[in-house]
Symmetry: C2
Subunit: 355 residues, 2 copies
Amino acid sequence: MPTELKNDVFLRALLRQPVDRTPVWMMRQAGRYLPEYRAARAQAGSFLKLCMTPDLACEVTLQPLRRYPLDAAILFSDILTIPHAMGLGLEFETGEGPRIRKPVRSAADAKALGVPDPSTDLRYVVDAVSLIRRELGGKVPLIGFAGSPWTVATYVVEGGSSKQFDIIKAMMYEEPATLHHVLGVLAEATRLYLNAQIEAGAQAVMIFDTWGGILAPQKYREFSLAYMVRVIEGLKREHDGHRIPVVLFTKGAGARLVDLAATDCDALGVDWTTDLAEARTLVGDGKALQGNLDPSVLYASPATIRSEVDRVLASYGNGPGHVFNLGHGIHPDVNPEHAGAMIAAVHELSPAYHR
Amino acid sequence: MPTELKNDVFLRALLRQPVDRTPVWMMRQAGRYLPEYRAARAQAGSFLKLCMTPDLACEVTLQPLRRYPLDAAILFSDILTIPHAMGLGLEFETGEGPRIRKPVRSAADAKALGVPDPSTDLRYVVDAVSLIRRELGGKVPLIGFAGSPWTVATYVVEGGSSKQFDIIKAMMYEEPATLHHVLGVLAEATRLYLNAQIEAGAQAVMIFDTWGGILAPQKYREFSLAYMVRVIEGLKREHDGHRIPVVLFTKGAGARLVDLAATDCDALGVDWTTDLAEARTLVGDGKALQGNLDPSVLYASPATIRSEVDRVLASYGNGPGHVFNLGHGIHPDVNPEHAGAMIAAVHELSPAYHR
């Protein structure tokens, strides 16, 4: 274990090494459901300012760790820092989600894209990672992250969030070379970005493919999976003498787990619509699994939360290789005490699965 | 074949009987992408009026058949006719989607629900079915349909469309008996409703489980699948001496196909995120498959549409048991000529798979 780490159960589980209980963290654990986050967000004035100010990003990263016995911290940032650094004009309008002012719609737009240099263009992220690592003082490991090239491309091409992804799908079918060029630039930018996070102190990295699940299987392989593979192949997998585990998460990809298992990642994120027992059978022994409580369970009572936590633990079953998490980010209107009930239940119930 | 039917390729394919080409129809083929539909909708004054006036429902049902060589007609209606008949106050606000004025939120609300009598409360649907059958004159078979009890319940409980389904999920976790009661009433209402459509002349029926895919697997089995099974068990499977095939469609249920295959339906709808070859392997020889072109392909050029149609035909492969369709309803902003290109491609390319 990295010498200074006081709790390495998360890293051990990702590498499928024996642990005495299942580690737990929550996607979006530094987020709007916490009043202290909302205060920091108000102080920053904007979401983007919060991301871009290392002191504030560090503060909100650490907030959930003060409340809960979590086994990992995750960098507070956004998957759209890369298009922002590319100069595409990222804005977050209140209640509207992200907007890209200069979306990429043509071959000329695509050719004009440059790969940001993380040490300058994304310096604020690198600085936040260094600061968080220092402030954590070895309490738990720090996860770095990025969006998948496909997922980031959906925003870059659509110009923001989308329901049907009409514009990027039209490009995929009619101008595949343009889209491949965009994805190639994003993959290279993502590779450099994640390596910069690793060099600054991220002890594991996760790639969020939020929108891979909307693609037909063959398109998924060609336009999403292939570029995640390209990123992974270029990652530093060891830093400071320690292995850096890589987690891949395609939401809604229960039917694509066999494809994902063939990549060189260490662990797969699994959303709540896939049974972990089925996932384990499909994926085999080569990968750890991370997930997968339905985030809506946190609307239920602590007693129900406890029994649903046990259902997830039981579905994975005995042995190493499970990281407990929600199947998607925590909802902003969840009662923080309910998140605490989930985490307590994992601490209490999971040792039985590691005897 | 029903004596008066001039084209029974759709019914034969659903029953996995040999055909000389793959039948084709489109979910929402009677819909907003057609200018003649928009004219009828404007004439009716409201969407609900269009559904509730048999002459107009018949007219829009037949519109796509005048344009395209489709192999089936589908009743023009809505999955929310049942809650409307229950007196829950259904409204369609322009651009807002459906709204239920009196949502079911408590055990008392649930207990107050009654099962509508289709011969009176949903008479307009029964009359539309009879009229369409007569007007079709045996050109192609007529499909009747209903929403799944779970999918209809999401609107009944949430009070309209939802993104996260917080309210119904909270009920599922905290008041499962209440939700089971709601689902039981809806299942009985759906059984009677589909049987009334069959008696009025529907030659196949389809159950749309648009929102089953948002559930964790065990919850899907308990709250969605179980009630579709209850509906199917109570359906008239023969009418006028002819078998009435039943199609089940859970969107986003690629990972649930084995569960769906265990039901007593004749065919499974498959969305575009599942490969038909994989689905065929999982489902085995007992069920036909219906699908599954990504509806966004219709934004592409006719040449691309043709090659993507062939990809879908090839993924199913040789032999009977395939009904070509989109993987979800046709988008409202699709060029009608592109729908025509898809249908023409199925006619042209599919005979090669039936030699």
